[in-house]
Symmetry: C2
Subunit: 202 residues, 2 copies
């Protein structure tokens, strides 16, 4: 993206709009098919975002089929249920508590497994933080590929874990509806904090 | 980005490269100035990413001045110290444990403060998850504006909190170096998991 002696250039205004400035959290979905292949492309794009020691602890379940939706539905908070069941897919963003087992593949130059062995608090902290990062990369990868999203944290986590990860090794973090959003279902855009309310330059 | 009856279009290949596919975590920085205004633009772009109830709990400190770097340096793990002190800025991504106080501005249609009142565990969970999302948005906003980043979790959190948030209300989450990366400092790119190792379609 850059020539050797010039700093990087920004994306054009339309791309910044699509990623951040006019992108919205959607609640209603257009009747346009979203293929399994496109969902896979979103995940495969997002996986290149950085994680701690490249550990990539996030695990993703695309809830697509009537059977999977029937399992998920009762576990959603009431305000999230109808819009999720109507979405082309709901993605469970979770993390694998056994992610250190993949470090020999992901971080091959050092044996990083001892950093985590016998330290469930560090495994949880790393899993939660980095699967959250990976969920955010997923949201922006979806937008980059022309899709819309709606992220949610209102659901029965223990119930989702039991229903979708019965071996007890993977823990849900949050959910993301994905599809082509219908602007008719948008609420008014909510404000954000002013720079001085959330940041300072020391 | 879309016309009324067509699904959204993907960004072009160069943009996908800049955001995800060829973007790298950097360890060495080119001697190109990064203005305070550009850092502010990154934050102001990233703030439009979604958070739970729009609560936007992340707080960002740009560690820029020699004095601020002198405070941060001893609190970094040894492997993170030299590259961070050489970066144009290191961003402390933190979260405000009093973020519910901003909900009347951010989520004005409902009084959401009672959802969090007296529930420090929910405040912490929401703060950690959403400030992680916001840190990921920041990384991708930086790339979208042509900058490079290097995220890190190896530092003395209690020490950073005491040095930069002495009132005890803001908690550090992770750090991001930012600037124009020098490819000469890159390691070989690390692999990622295959789709079937981290995802499934139910």
């Amino acid at each position: 993206m850059t020539i050797d002696n010039a700093p990087g250039a920004p994306l054009d205004a339309a791309a910044l709009d699509q990623l951040f400035l006019t992108a919205r959290t959607h609640n209603k979905w257009r009747d346009i098919p979203v293929s399994d292949d496109l969902l896979r492309q979103v995940a495969e794009l997002s996986k290149w975002g950085p994680t701690s020691a490249n550990a990539s602890p996030a695990r993703f379940v695309f809830v697509r089929s009537p059977e999977a939706k029937a399992k998920l539905g009762p576990l959603l908070s009431e305000g999230n249920r109808a819009k999720s069941l109507a979405a082309p897919a709901t993605v469970i963003v979770a993390y694998d508590t056994e992610f250190p087992d993949k470090l020999p593949k992901l971080f091959p130059h050092v044996d990083a497994r001892p950093w985590f062995a016998g330290n469930p608090a560090l495994i949880e902290e790393t899993g939660v933080r980095n699967s959250s990062l990976q969920g955010a990369y997923f949201i922006l990868a979806a937008r980059a590929l022309g899709l819309d999203t709606g992220a949610m944290s209102g659901f029965d986590k223990a119930g989702v874990d039991a229903a979708f990860f019965p071996e007890g090794k993977v823990k849900s973090n949050f959910l993301i509806n994905i599809g082509y959003g219908d602007p008719a279902g948008l609420f008014e855009r909510l404000p954000r904090l002013d720079f001085d309310e959330y940041a300072r330059i020391d």
